[in-house]
Amino acid sequence: MATTTVPAPVSERLTRIWETAPGLFGALASVDHKTIGKRYLVTSIVFLILGGAEAAALRVQLARPDTSLMTPEAYNQIFSMHGITMIFWYAAPVLSGFSNYMWPLMLGARDMACPRANALSYWTFLMSGVFLYTSALVGQMPDKGWFAYAPLTETAYSPGLNMDFYAIALTFLSVSTTVGAINFVVTLFKTRAPGMSVNRLPIFVWGTLTTSFSVIAAAPALTAACVLLYLDRRFGAHFYDAAFGGSALLWQHLFWSFGHPWVYIVVLPAMGIVSDLMPTFCRRPLVGYAFVALATVSTGMLGFGVWVHHMFATGLPATASSFFSAASMVITIPSAIAVFSWIATMWHGRPVFKTPMLFAAGFIILFVIGGVSGVATAANAYDLQLTDTYFIVAHLHYVLIGINVFAVMAGFYYWLPKITGKMLNEKLGKVNFWLMFIGFGVGFFPMHTLGLLGMPRRIYTYAAGLGWEWQNMWVTIGAFVFALGVAVFIANFFWSLRSGDDAGPNPWDAPTLEWATPSPPPPYNFARVPIVGSRHPLWEGRTSERTGQSLLDTGPILDEGRDTFGTTPLDAEPDEILRMPEDTMWPFFLSLSILVVSYGLLFDRLWLGAIGIGALFVCIAGWFWPRGVVRSPAGA
């Protein structure tokens, strides 16, 4: 399939209009979704490596009983940072990276609907992570787990800055996730290409859309929990202090009513990645598209009704526990629908086992293991034995590595050729897959039995003679094999930049719109705005699927400024032309102001907070200062 061609002067003019300014200004002011997406991906992989290094340290400590390589305080800080880093600064942001890069390309748009908000979302993500890791410089990293149960986090039991870093960094990060989520929702309902109706959206887009709604609804619970914690710690508010009429369980309800939806936030788009590469590598459309799309949305909604299964042991009434137990089982059904859609797509397709497909197949197997162990924990009577043991550690890693990391790897092998224009090495890719798959199995499967043997979570050491020794050694070996797999991926990435084959626009002969652009795509994405007529615009007329006709070579060019179509929410009929914003430094400075406020809050320095707040208002004023943005109605 050829990419769209326009005369050279037109493409040059489009490039001039859309490209980011060179130099430092451009680096800080870019609002291009592709630049922002790449930054999200790179930054989240850096956090993955940090979190992985922390995990390696933990596994060395636990490889043998009664080890004293690390002090308990060091272990507790590192296991806490491992969880916080992976869950908050890797798992969701890496998917935001793919979504930021891919959404406009998949939807046939020239940028996200709110490019400046997009930049803000990235800068706040980065700076909140920097803020979090300054805790390492002062040796006071959060040490009460990523779940940070009160009242252990109160000053009486946690006098250092550790948990202040936690509360402030997460509040800071939720600015990023919330702004990003709103941007995705607006983009979806406003700036799809004409004809990209909701029944033609890639499943990955359904995934990110669903999780964006989840973020908007769930993030305030975490923010509230963290703000109350900060008030308790700094102003003696006693929200979580039972001795003064507060409630220790208030934290858990707030945290998990955020935390469980968050689990789906870090897996649904990942499942979407697999759903979207399945057709490409099975040479046929996805089986049951509508079922999978609806399963995605219903998982997101049901995800808000299961949080109490983290709290079965807290002494809640049996009726309440049973309700949440039932809800946690029901949520299995949409996942089963997705799994059987993938199996059926493979069964009725002709699978081509390139690296992305290998990762996708491994993903399905790990997904099912993680799902089945999830059902075990949903059964509340059984969960009372399983909870807070290594069984749960196994389960959550099958979910977070199996469903997130494996899908992300599949996504990298699938989409990096689009992003960099270079193919990754297939042989290294297969080595990469098998190291990760085998390392994962060796490393994480024995955790199930360790849990059943009674090994509690979050212990910095254990006594010899409890029957846990050899399995812990296995786990450590497996973890290092897995880490080697990640290292091979990184090597493969750099190899591809130096010596990879040119990818060309569509190296996999894939069906969706992002493959209609050159690799890497030009700053304006599509020279001609595509008019979409089917779910698989690049496969039209080649499969037995009855479809409409997409127009990729005859759509309008829109080259009078940064213009893109605004379309109607459901059917994507064009109803206006939107003038998109130019490069701007305000999102960067706004994030910087929040960083200053955060340090003011951390160190209790009123003057620092005041400077930050002042700068914040200046930035907001600058951002919204009128500069004659034109919105011309369609047809004008």
């Binding site: 149960y149 059926a344 699978p351 390139k354 009577a381 509690p456």
Partner: protein, 294 residues
Amino acid sequence: MSVAVVLAITALVIAGGWRRRHDNARSSGGGNAGFVDQSANELRWIVVGGMIVPAVILTLTFAFTIVTENATAAPPASAAMTIEIIGHRWWWEVKYSGDSAGPVTANEVHVPVGKPIRLELTSADVIHSFWIPQLAGKTDVIPGQRNIAWIQADAPGVYRGACTEYCGQQHANMAAFVVAQSPADFAQWLEHQRAVVTGVAPGPAAAGFAVFQASACASCHTIRGTSASGRIGPDLTHLASRATIAGGTLANNRGNLAGWIANPQTIKPGNVMPAIPLRSRDLQALLAYLETLQ
């Protein structure tokens, strides 16, 4: 069942991948080659595999869960006795509270075999969780809340458990033991634990008691029958009758006890007990005294 589901789906993934796999050499060549037609019955996979089968399995699982929960939620007979367990950082205080003599011990819950025992769980500081895997599931121990659990040991023996809610620096060293004894042995044990200390033999033990009184020990520990009535650390009235010290961290013998008193922060960093600087002679006397607390 879980294993069966995993194996079945793994088999389907491998079979589905293998069945009509593409020869890699001629893949992704573009053109019409290689596409597969949709078939009429492919949605059956989703309806049967994705909806009907899991719905049946899950309904059965849930029914089984409810039945199990019902069976484990309350003892079959009314509880023989109530034991109060208080979580501390990082040890368990055990009180036989229905007993007017108020025996108190630490980290060891002695129970009579074959009798349902009611546990009342409270916390002195942060959230802990009480778990003896062979006897019952976990019940969290939450400040400001009194949670009820019950256990019944059907065979005599020592059942090891641990705190399973992360409770800070020494969460790893907070073991609990249920010691199940025949009713006669248990009655004898309880009778013994009710006794208070009535005087001290002359010699090293008496000197040791003087050290105990004079140093910081007495401000945190209680020895019933003496003026030592501190409430921060474990009750030491029958210290020597226990199998372990320091929340199950160390076996209870003279050497370990000496090490623990001399340097608790090396053995269990961060724990609440400070190192008490004692001259060697005083330490030996103190140990001699503690050994009399049978």
